[in-house]
């Protein structure tokens, strides 16, 4: 037990716990919004497009996470603009940005002189190797996600519930949509270090879906979703450390198993409550 608790004395583990909590906060907030606005695939598109930024970061010698941030924000604004002003369906645009970003990432890394860098931590996450500078960026982005949502909470609620009516009432829903896309992009960057580009959708959706089974208001859904996300992240970190398996995969597999168990238990409870119709 003592040796188990001693892992908390390691800096890398403390960083991982803080990173897990930051991830769960953005998942709790943004996960609920993208779930209600049906923007899950959009979030996937933004996450994968950020890979181009990781590749560019390596190529030009800046922090890959900064490149990921610039690409994810750029793709979020690009998708939003073309969706509003173009003639293409949003799923077509998302598919294009998704593939184009990944392709650019591969191209940039191929263009690098010498041996290719280790990029699996950006693709699949490596929460146990989060540095202090990563944490500083993640903390800043988490605050930038929380503030606009908290400051205009009732406006976001009206926007999520009925966007057309909110527009009729004079709310600037176009601005809100762009802000939301940028918040999604920032959340993706926070999540990349924990679970990686490819696995972000699991943390954005599963805690929210579980919270949705037990809550009847947006605020409580965000709080419960954040708590569930923190539980999944911390459990995944422990499993990763104890079993010596990749942290991103550990978090996502644990999340998916718990989600399935909760889903089955919830449906059994509903089934047992429902009287049979003869």
């Amino acid at each position: 037990m003592i040796s188990f608790l001693s892992i908390f004395s390691y800096q890398f583990f403390q960083n991982a716990v803080v990173a897990g909590i930051l991830c769960s906060i953005v998942c709790g907030i943004i996960g609920v919004i993208i779930s209600e606005k049906k923007l899950v695939m959009m979030s996937g598109g933004i996450a994968h497009a950020s890979y181009g930024g990781v590749g560019l970061g390596y190529l030009i010698g800046i922090e890959p996470i900064i490149g990921a941030f610039l690409f994810s924000v750029g793709s979020a604004i690009g998708i939003g603009f073309l969706k509003r002003n173009g003639r293409f369906r949003s799923d077509v645009l998302i598919g294009l940005f998704w593939s184009f970003g990944m392709a650019l990432g591969i191209l940039f890394i191929t263009l690098m002189p010498g041996y290719p860098p280790e990029i699996s931590s950006y693709l699949f996450g490596s929460i146990l190797s989060v540095t202090n500078s990563d944490l500083a960026l993640m903390t800043s982005l988490t605050i930038l996600v929380i503030l606009p949502v908290a400051m205009l909470f009732n406006h976001w609620k009206a926007y999520m519930f009925d966007e057309e009516f909110a527009t009729v009432m004079g709310l600037k829903t176009t601005i809100m949509e762009y802000v939301l896309f940028i918040l999604i992009a920032m959340s993706v960057v926070v999540l990349i270090r924990a679970v990686g580009i490819i696995l972000t959708l699991a943390l954005l959706t599963a805690p929210t879906a579980i919270a949705g089974l037990f809550t009847k208001s947006i605020g409580s859904r965000m709080v419960l979703s954040a708590i569930a996300g923190a539980f999944f992240c911390l459990a995944g970190i422990f499993l990763s450390y104890i079993l010596n398996i990749p942290s991103g995969a550990a978090i996502v597999i644990f999340t998916a198993i718990i989600f399935l168990l909760v889903y089955i238990a919830f449906n059994l409870r509903i089934k047992n409550r429902t009287p049979l119709n003869n």
Binding site: E36, A158, F161, E164, V168, L171, T215
Partner: protein, 259 residues
């Protein structure tokens, strides 16, 4: 409606055309609605009824023509328009209770940070719920409501800004007969203080409730007294029609006479 406003124009549409891409949705619509009118808009599916409402609210770009709501361009006077969308366009699984739905109708313009609903606003929301007859449901989650109850709550939300012009998009399309009568009675009461434009497929409502009728099939086929005749309906649907159910015209075969 105050006597001095009786003759004012609540809505003035001049030669309005709207296109979705290259497809015309509305063409050359000219329509004047007096303050205090109760206008029913009917027409086939795809005839542009909902587009007309969106154009009045400034939600779609116009290809030509102009619209004035109480003398102003759409989008200028948000507080003057109350809008009741089709219930099918609103997500009933969204985690929100009845009182909160009505309160969202009070978030007009601007981004005041950390805005909380005041006690006065909550009382106003309760009064609106009372007016539409669903006050007892104010703490219920919306997914627990019937179609008729939900429709009344959307009407209460539209009334939150005390609008001069109330637009309703098929408010009786998913409600039972009892709720439908209650909604029409409510609209007649509201018409005493506001202009109403009602888009509907419910032809029974036309003769029984509305004061003025507009028939729309991308063009304005008819505008006048709320008296339907077979010539108007045939022009509107481009085919002989005896009955319209859920927006689809039907030919009802005459009963066979057996020898």
């Amino acid at each position: 409606m105050h006597p001095e406003n009786q003759n004012a124009l609540a809505l003035n549409i001049n030669n309005l055309s709207v296109k979705y891409g290259d497809t015309p949705a509305l063409s050359g619509i000219t329509l004047k609605v007096n303050a205090g009118d109760y206008l029913g808009v009917i027409g086939p599916n795809g005839g542009g009824k909902s587009t007309l409402l969106k154009a009045i609210m400034g939600l779609v770009k116009t290809a030509s023509g102009n619209i004035k709501v109480s003398g102003h361009t759409p989008g200028y006077l948000h507080k003057n328009i109350g809008y009741v969308p089709q219930t099918s366009d609103v997500d009933k699984s969204f985690p929100i209770n009845v009182q909160e739905v009505v309160l969202t109708g009070m978030l007009v313009r601007g981004f005041p940070i950390f805005r909380k609903y005041s006690q006065k606003e909550k009382e106003a929301a309760d009064n609106l719920l009372n007016e539409v007859g669903v006050y007892a449901l104010k703490k219920r989650h919306i997914k627990e409501l019937s179609g008729g109850e939900f429709q009344k709550i959307l009407i209460a939300r539209a009334l939150a800004v005390n609008p001069g012009l109330l637009l309703l998009d098929e408010p009786t399309s998913s409600v039972d007969a009892n709720s439908r009568d209650q909604i029409y009675n409510l609209l007649e009461t509201l018409n005493a203080r506001m202009t109403i434009i009602l888009v509907t497929h419910d032809l029974l409502a036309i003769s029984a409730h509305v004061g003025v009728l507009a028939c729309l099939n991308r063009q304005l086929v008819y505008h006048g007294k709320a008296e339907l005749n077979s010539e108007i309906v045939s022009n509107m649907y481009n085919c002989p029609v005896d009955l319209i159910a859920h927006g689809v015209p039907h030919r009802v075969l005459k009963e066979h006479v057996h020898d």
